[in-house]
């Protein structure tokens, strides 16, 4: 075979970007600084042993669709801390207090938490999942799967 077929650098070219029929998504720029003030508030609430309030603040302030991976990881670790801090007996009340939007965001965090399991986290998350599912139903899980803007 000829020498020029030995190079497979061409496989790293993304030819799809040149196809003008491609669907280009809306580019909204989300402000990553918006998470900042919440972080300190939430950690202080956790330290003050008020995890349920920390949860409400976390969910109402969560911004979806951030492109920056580091920011997403920090928001996930914070969310996991809050979720783990709430005891099983408190979960029912915590879920009942939330409104529909927050429950959808909570479900998204739960599924993201499943993706990166730490010791004992998945079992606790499963309890969370069951409690949110009884209130929000299959619809919330469908929204985790279909919403383009991931948490």
């Amino acid at each position: 075979m000829a020498k020029n077929t030995s190079s497979n650098v061409f496989r790293t070219l993304d030819v799809d970007q040149y196809n003008e029929d491609n669907y280009k998504e809306d580019n909204d720029s989300t402000d990553p600084a918006a998470l900042g003030p919440n972080d300190t508030l939430i950690t202080s609430l956790l330290a003050a042993n008020k995890p349920v309030e920390a949860l409400t603040h976390l969910l109402s302030g969560a911004t979806l669709g951030i492109k920056d991976q580091a920011a997403r990881t920090t928001s996930l670790t914070l969310a996991m801390r809050v979720l783990m801090a709430i005891k099983v007996s408190q979960i029912d009340d915590a879920v009942a207090q939330l409104d529909n939007e927050s429950r959808d965001v909570l479900m998204k965090f739960i599924y993201r938490g499943f993706e990166v399991p730490n010791e004992g986290s998945s079992a606790h998350l499963l309890v969370w999942h069951e409690k949110v599912f009884t209130v929000a139903g299959v619809g919330s899980i469908v929204r985790v799967l279909t919403d383009k803007k991931r948490v």
Binding site: Y23, A136, V142
Partner: protein, 373 residues
């Protein structure tokens, strides 16, 4: 309870269906390239009268015009055919050149039946009308600002405005005014200037993305549109850009229609029609299913050997894959059988299980509060 459940021959899932004006005949497609026309014989029988088989690929949309009696079908083979019934009962077809390079996904006759709209995967809506002097159907394209496949279209009662839902998570209202065949339309709530392909309104399904739009429906007076998306939501919007979204607890809905000025009927992956009340401010209340879950009978005589065999093979003792609803698969289309969008008395649903069910809303209204029309 659904009044009538009908299975047509050995056919597979029914993708789409349309009734004739007198409701004695139905045209449907069993998820393949043929359109079957069945005629009602006597009380319960249906006889196949014609098979319309001009398409090469799967038929995706059928619509039967009530006044002129013409059927239009569109398919994945990028074509649409208009069928006219001759005196001797056969159907004569006319090819419509849509000039698209992808599959057609949906088709609807306009209220006055002088044109029809075809949505397609080519990111184009083709508005087709009949040109007398050349004796053929001409297609005009709506291209901007469509960016993805059109999945559903619905006409406004004024014969000019068209709502289109698409896989870019948006619903848009366009003007499909063809000056060759109709008068200039009067101004509506959606706007006064309506040149062809003008975008009158655009709604985004959700700020978080939202899921593909599966079905869109104009209300009877044309002031509001309702749509369902794959994020298990149902939304009602009006011309003033006010949008009321209800995120349901059900599986995604696939088809929606107004059955009265204040209620919507939708159905989808939950295999049962669900009715939603809409109050005057546009707020949608939680839906109620049209039938209660039927108790699935598990045979008590399931013998021990079968039980252990199942446990070994599948992991559970009793295999009960029968759903607790009349339909056993997702409902693909709802059509109003008797009545209209302002007062529907009976609707028909077709589903992936190959069944056609008829629901008498009047009778069901006694059992369900939400259904009071």
């Amino acid at each position: 309870m659904a009044a009538a459940v009908q299975k047509f021959g050995p056919g597979g899932p029914i993708q789409c269906h349309a009734w004739s004006a007198d409701r004695q005949a139905i045209a449907l497609s069993h998820n393949d390239k043929d359109v079957m026309v069945y005629q009602q014989t006597g009380q319960k029988g249906w006889k196949e009268t014609s098979r319309l088989d001009q398409h090469d690929l799967r038929v995706t949309g059928i619509d039967w015009a009530p006044v002129s009696g013409r059927i239009v079908t569109c398919s994945q083979d990028r074509n649409a055919y208009v069928w006219v019934k001759e005196q001797n009962g056969t159907w004569r077809h006319t090819l419509v050149l849509l000039r698209i390079n992808r599959a057609a996904t949906c088709v609807k006759w306009s209220p006055e039946e002088n044109k029809f709209a075809v949505g397609s995967g080519a990111r184009i809506i083709s508005i087709c009308y009949f040109e007398e002097e050349n004796d053929w159907w001409v297609a005009k394209h709506i291209k901007r600002p469509l960016r993805s496949t059109i999945t559903t279209v619905d006409w406004h009662p004024n014969n000019v405005l068209l709502a289109a839902g698409s896989t870019d998570f948006k619903v848009r209202v366009f003007s499909a005014y063809i000056k060759d065949i109709e008068q200039k339309p009067a101004a509506t709530e959606w706007g006064a200037k309506m040149p062809f392909a003008n975008l009158m309104a655009e709604f985004s399904n959700s700020l978080t993305g939202g899921g593909w739009i599966h079905s869109v429906s104009f209300s009877a007076d044309g002031r509001r549109i309702a749509w369902v998306g794959h994020d298990s939501s149902i939304v009602v919007a009006d011309a003033g850009m006010a949008m009321m979204k209800l995120k349901t607890n059900f599986l995604p809905l696939l088809t929606v229609t107004w059955i009265s000025p204040s209620s919507i009927l939708a159905a989808g992956h939950d295999c049962v029609p669900i009715v939603f009340r809409v109050d005057p401010s546009g707020k949608i209340s939680d839906g109620s299913k049209l039938e209660e879950d039927k108790k699935v009978e598990t045979p008590i005589t399931a013998n021990a050997m079968r039980m252990f065999r199942n446990k070994d093979r599948v992991g559970q003792e009793l295999l009960d894959s029968k759903l607790a609803t009349t339909h056993q698969n997702q409902i693909t289309e709802i059509r109003i059988l008797r009545g209209s969008k302002s007062q529907a008395e009976a609707v028909s649903t077709t589903a992936g299980d190959g069944k056609l069910c008829i629901w008498h809303l009047r009778d069901l209204a006694t059992t369900f509060e939400d259904l009071k029309l």
